[in-house]
């Protein structure tokens, strides 16, 4: 008897929830986020969430915010996105490359919802894609690395062999080489985006091989910790400023800042002006932030790095400006030629001077 009344009250509560929700949905724009990692991963997901929260703060009560964290890329992603769409989301951001096909599939079933997929290349009428030109920041890191290294050996902790990571390696190598022709790059692939133990091991191995600068395309602070313990090794923050490791070993950083984009896009939905777009922004719009260059870097080099940052921001300088030769000796860009976005998007070769092969 008692159990039955419990069930009945549960049903009543559910009814209230069901009838209450649509009324609210009329007024507010519902914004959803699908994250690949937990919101406190310290890297990629945390920065998307951080930017999302900035967006929420900006709009305040005008929107309703929801998110789902730790959504695995794969069969479960499609269902997670579907569930968000059917709970009435007006715009859904899917913030990992692996959500590309699921996003496209779900978008086809929900023509009245718009989708924003990060780092992918498939668009639809209601699916936009957006990504950041992180290689712009890599050019600055490469310049600094080439200047501060004493051993002329620069270590690079690479994550997954995709064009974005390869662009980063090439951009930093080209610019390190430009200011210091004797530099040599040692690259370790860990095939993951976030794995503190592996990152620490990779950093230690690089330092043991004589590298006194360690660049990373992975998300944890473990390499900084390893560098700090070793002493005399320079690092750069990734995704986050990682200022807690400054002024040494961290001497600058690349910061992911998606907030302006998120505010823009949600505003477009509110205004009814949203259209499917392909956005690839860099330092110029602030999507890629460059963390303060710390004072252990000599003033002239700091000024040089900042000048490059400003030149990239205004569009006066493109990090991939010819002459650039590929590793196999063929010419990619002639003197003064600037890389086009198509080539950059699919970049799958090392530039001349980098040793080793891209894993495949």
């Amino acid at each position: 008897m008692k159990r039955r009344t419990l069930l009945a009250s549960g049903a009543a509560a559910a009814m209230a929830a069901v009838t209450g929700l649509p009324a609210r949905a009329q007024e507010k724009t519902k914004v959803g986020f699908i994250y690949v990692g937990p919101i406190n991963d310290g890297g990629w997901t945390q920065h998307h969430h951080h930017s999302a929260m900035e967006m929420v703060e900006h709009f305040g009560d005008a929107i309703e915010f929801m998110y789902q964290e730790s959504v695995p890329e794969g069969p479960d992603a499609e269902r997670a996105i579907t569930q968000m769409a059917r709970s009435g989301a007006d715009i859904i951001f899917t913030t990992s490359f692996g959500f590309m096909d699921p996003t496209i599939n779900v978008a086809a079933n929900f023509p009245n919802t718009v989708f924003e997929h990060a780092t992918g290349y498939k668009q639809a009428d209601n699916v936009s894609v957006y990504s950041a030109r992180f290689y712009e920041g890599r050019a600055i890191q490469g310049t600094l690395a080439g200047r501060v290294t004493q051993t002329n050996k620069i270590g690079y902790i690479a994550s997954v062999p995709i064009p974005e990571v390869i662009r980063g390696i090439n951009a930093s190598y080209l610019h390190a080489k430009k200011v210091n022709p004797d530099v040599e790059f040692k690259i370790i692939w860990i095939f993951e985006w976030l794995n503190p133990a592996k990152e620490a091991d990779a950093a230690k191995a690089l330092i043991e091989q004589g590298c006194d600068v360690v660049l990373q395309h992975t998300d944890s602070t473990a390499p900084h910790q390893a560098a700090k313990e070793a002493g005399g090794v320079y690092t750069f923050g990734q995704a986050a400023d990682m200022a807690e490791y400054g002024p040494m070993p961290r001497i600058s950083s690349i910061i992911d800042n998606w907030a302006p984009y998120y505010i823009d896009r949600v505003q477009a939905v509110i205004d009814g002006t949203w259209t499917s777009t392909n956005t690839w922004d860099g330092i110029g719009t602030g999507m890629v932030g460059i963390g303060e260059v710390s004072d252990v870097v000599p003033a002239e080099y700091k000024a040089e790095a900042e000048a490059m940052r400003d030149a990239i921001a205004t569009g006066d300088y493109h990090p991939f400006t010819g002459p650039i030769t590929k590793q196999d000796g063929t010419v990619w860009l002639a003197e003064g030629e600037v890389a086009n976005d198509g080539d950059l998007a699919g970049m799958f070769f090392y530039v001349e001077g980098i040793e080793g092969d891209i894993p495949s």
């Binding site: 549960g10 479960d76 569930q83 709970s87 692996g98 096909d101 062999p161 095939f191 998007a345 495949s360």
Partner: protein, 361 residues
């Protein structure tokens, strides 16, 4: 004072009642957990167990439950043979991954030829063989070198995980994918897609195979010499020896059977719900299936029901995460409670409570 007393014979009643009681205990404990997290416990349970089947969006959820249950049931059926005979294949996850790689590999080798009548059956065979071969390794090592199949099969899961990552950026990478990891999407390749046989029901070829496997397993266990041997070896290896059961052959057969079923489950998954070979393809079905097998009492019908129940907690759990803002860890805890309470309640099958001091009749 309460005392546990061993039953002379395992209780028939509790063999079947224990899983049900475990589910009830899990629900009660779960309600406590959800209430502790500040959620309405009744609403939480309703969202997890009721809404996916009868709620507003049930028409979308029911097919998903079936899709999620299919690989769990298929793998668990395979495992149940070995588990009954005391042969512990813990590495179904690895066999599942290798089956997926082999199945997808065959499909991609034919791409873009349109010949479903040839390609899809070949993929099924490749999936079966892939899983079987991966299970053959612990089987041979166990039979000829007396290694422990638990350890070997488990370790091979990690090897398989590395292999699928390597294939997703190497041999099977989508040449039109702008250098991104991952194979072509098999769902967009008509000859290889594991589509729903009846649209909107979730009954894809893997689900149909799972039902078929349940029926065949039921017949094997009740009517066939092989099922008898398996049960005998599990209950009394010595008696099985006297009855002429070849222990080594039984190990081989049980491991290969579970490997083949896990492999074909992987193939149906990669050509259906997952769509492509990716580093993130492994989703622990191979491990979850172990829970399903035990929850289902290693009985084919029990496994069918347990697989559906487990799938339900996944689908309902996801909805609860989103609509009630339950953390994903709470759902995992809830699923863990299910196995935990089953193991606890299991005591009742072999023991009974007795009040010390009461007169013994």
């Amino acid at each position: 004072m309460l005392k546990l007393e061993k039953r002379p014979q395992p209780s028939k009643f509790w063999t079947y009642a224990a899983p049900l009681l475990a589910v009830v205990i899990t629900i009660v404990l779960g309600m406590g957990l959800f209430a502790f997290l500040g959620n309405d416990p009744i609403l939480s349970i309703k969202t997890i167990f009721w809404d996916p089947v009868f709620g507003e969006f049930a028409y979308m959820d029911r097919p998903e439950v079936i899709k999620k249950a299919a690989p769990l049931i298929l793998i668990a059926i395979g495992l149940s043979f070995g588990f009954r005979a005391g042969i512990w294949n813990i590495g179904a996850e690895g066999q599942y991954i290798i089956g997926a790689i082999c199945g997808a590999g065959v499909a991609l080798a034919f791409y873009p030829t349109e010949a479903r009548w040839l390609i899809f059956p070949l993929m099924i065979i490749a999936g079966l063989l892939g899983g079987l071969l991966w299970a053959l390794i612990p089987a041979i090592l166990r039979v000829y070198f007396k290694t422990n199949e638990i350890l070997v099969s488990l370790m091979l899961v990690y090897v398989a995980e590395v292999l699928i990552k390597a294939f997703s950026i190497g041999l099977l990478r989508n040449p039109d994918g702008f250098g991104m990891p991952g194979s072509r999407n098999l769902r967009q390749y008509a000859s290889a897609a594991n589509n729903e046989v009846i649209a909107g029901t979730g009954m894809h070829w893997g689900a149909i195979t799972a039902v078929f496997a349940v029926i065949v397993a039921y017949i094997l266990f009740t009517r066939h010499q092989f099922g008898f041997n398996v049960r005998l070896a599990g209950q009394s290896p010595r008696a099985a020896g006297f009855a002429g059961v070849n222990a080594n052959r039984l190990v081989m057969r049980c491991l290969l059977l579970s490997g083949a079923l896990a492999g074909v489950a992987g193939m149906f998954e990669v050509s259906g719900p997952a769509g492509q070979i990716m580093g993130s393809f492994p989703s622990f079905y191979g491990f979850t299936a172990i829970i399903v097998a035990f929850l289902g009492r290693l009985h084919p019908i029990g496994i069918l029901l347990a697989g559906l129940l487990m799938a339900l907690t996944y689908i309902g759990g996801e909805t609860a995460e989103l609509t009630l803002n339950l953390p994903s860890a709470a759902i995992l805890t809830f699923q863990g409670m299910l196995l935990f309470s089953l193991l606890a309640v299991d005591v009742l099958t072999n023991y009974r409570f007795k009040f010390a001091g009461a007169e013994v009749r």
